[in-house]
Each structure stands twice: as C-alpha cells, then as structure tokens.
Symmetry: C2
Subunit: 205 residues, 2 copies
Amino acid sequence: MTENRRTNDPQGVRRRIIDAAYDAFVSQGYIATGMLELRARASVSGGAMAHHFPSKRELGLAVIRDRVAEAVRQTWINPLHACADAPTAIDLIFGNIIDELTLKGSVSGCPLNNMAMEVSQHDPEMRDVLSEVFYAWHDALSEKFQADVASKRASDLNPSSLATLAIAAYSGAMAIAKACQDVGPLVDCRSELAATLATKYHSVT
Amino acid sequence: MTENRRTNDPQGVRRRIIDAAYDAFVSQGYIATGMLELRARASVSGGAMAHHFPSKRELGLAVIRDRVAEAVRQTWINPLHACADAPTAIDLIFGNIIDELTLKGSVSGCPLNNMAMEVSQHDPEMRDVLSEVFYAWHDALSEKFQADVASKRASDLNPSSLATLAIAAYSGAMAIAKACQDVGPLVDCRSELAATLATKYHSVT
C-alpha cells in the first residue's frame, strides 16, 4: 500500500481512483456516488483527483474503458476462447457466476448493465463506449457460434441472433437476480439455454 | 387539465404527482430526479407534495405499486390472458414493443428493470415491492405455459424456467437496446424465442 501512496506515482494514484470508483459504481451506482466520497475511498487529495479526472464523467468513461470492458473480457470472452465450443463456455460462465454469487450471498448485478442502465440515456459518449463493450461481447460469442458451425459441431443456427439471446438472457437474469436477491433466474436461464443449444448441436462436449 | 388543478381534488393531485414521477423516473432515472423538479413538473405546491409524499422513497414505492406494476400488466399479463397460447402472446408482445420503439425512435428501457437496477440494492422495502412485480409477471407466463401443456399444445417443457428465460431475454434485450439505442436485440430475441418455443410446441397457432 505504501508505494501506492507516493505522490510521484501518478499511475498508482490513477489506478487507485479507478479501483475505488469501479467498486462504488458497481455496489451503489454511478449517479449515487459523489466525487468527494471517491476521494475519501481512494485516499487522494482534491488536486490529485482534479489532475487525473477533472469530472466524474471522465472518471466514468475511464471506469468503463479500463474496468467494465475488462470484467466482460474475464467473465465471458476469455472462457469463450478457452472452451471447446460455445455451449461448454456458456454453461461454465453461468456456473461460475452462480457459484460466485451463492458464495457472496448477494447480487450486485452485471457491471456493464448496471452502468448502461444508469448513464446510457443521458450521455451519448458514454453510451458509445458502453455500446462498444456490448458489441465486443456479442462479436466474441457470435464468432464462437460461427466457428462451431464451421467445425460441424452445430448446424441450423444464426450465430448473431443466438449470441444476442444468450447475452440478453444473462443480462436480464442478472437484473432480476439483483432485484430479487436470488440466483434462481441465473439457474433457470443456464438450464434453458443449455436445452436450446442442445437442439442445435450434434454432440455437446 | 383545469379540474386536475383544483385544490379540493386530492386524488387528482396525487395522480398528477405519480404521473410526473413515473415519466421522470423512466426517462431520466429515480436517483437523478429531485423532488423540487417533480413539484415543478406536476405543478403542485410544496405543501401538497409533502401531504401526499413526505419523501421521494414513498413516491417511488407508489410509482412501483401503481404504475410500474400496471405497465407490466398492460404490456405482458393482459396479452398473455388474451392470446390462445404463450408463443403467440410472446411474439405479439415483442412485436408491439419493437413497433412502439421504432415509431418513437428511442429506447428508454423497461420501467420495471430501470427502477430495479437503480434502487433494489439500496432499499429492502423497494426491492420487495419490485420483486412482487417480477413474481406476478413470472407467474402469469409460467401459468400460461402450464395451461398450454395441459391443453396438449406443448410438451416437454419446464413452465417455470422457460418463463424465466423469456422474461430475462426481454429484460436483457431492453437493457442492451437502451444502451445501444437500437431495437436489434429485441428483434433477435423475438426470433430466437419463437424458434426455441417451436421445438416444444406441437403446432404454434
């Protein structure tokens, strides 16, 4: 911790602010979080905050670009690349999040959807940056479905719209799970997506 | 309008406040909306506002109970009761919302999900009231699937988890549509849900 607090470590300070902002935006929301609170959470001076992020909006954009995009990469895109096929990856991803939320005992929701629901209508630039994260997510899943068709694992599927269904089901299930503080919607969507994919795959590994 | 502004019409005043609050919460969000702004939007005095809704929280609860629940009833529950079977109703519901958003040219999102994403983590009572709306929605769709199985329209389906998938896909597609200001995700989910249901229904009317 000490080296992070050195005033001659601007990248450390910047990272500390973004860490604190990401945690606060995910747990209590972007609009509900004030810059003064973030200064306290990150233990930075007003001058340091103003130097790195003159406005909450700029901090919001940095959190989306650096952290929300990274959360989607770790949660979804990396497992898609690592697994043999899309159904295996989707089942693993839902299983991971169900385990994580069950262990944690509460649902704070999907960082991307939380931010998107709050800011997308107010701010076109934030909306564009959030949209890019959704598109990267959709492209990764769509490409996986396409590869599965190319390798004859699956047939008779529309990679793009099926990717939308899986992402929408995950996002919606997270939203309902958050509203009801219950992982049940994720469990239901996991099994229904697996059943839907099974009708399109010749043999799910 | 004139009769609504009579000071001896407390129900009219209450309704006007709730109307203004519902519009503001849906279009700009619950947290971002202030009580002073709502007084101006509803053209009511501070005294009248304090009489009906001493706090924004009480107004939020009234908006969920009176308006958000009603929006879910009109958009989802009534068509479910009116249509011959669940697939016909779901296709109609997605078609209606796609047409409405296309005509409007912008996506403000699902009133229930918007409110849920903002407030469910902060306030257990609001969360309970929001959960009830989700449960009523889920029960109506689940019962329709059950009725379709009973009348031999469908077989081999789990009414409860299939209802969760359809509701999550709708909620998630609305969230992505809002973030990207594009109805595409709803169009994709409509066609994928129809294809999924077709595998479970003997003949979709």
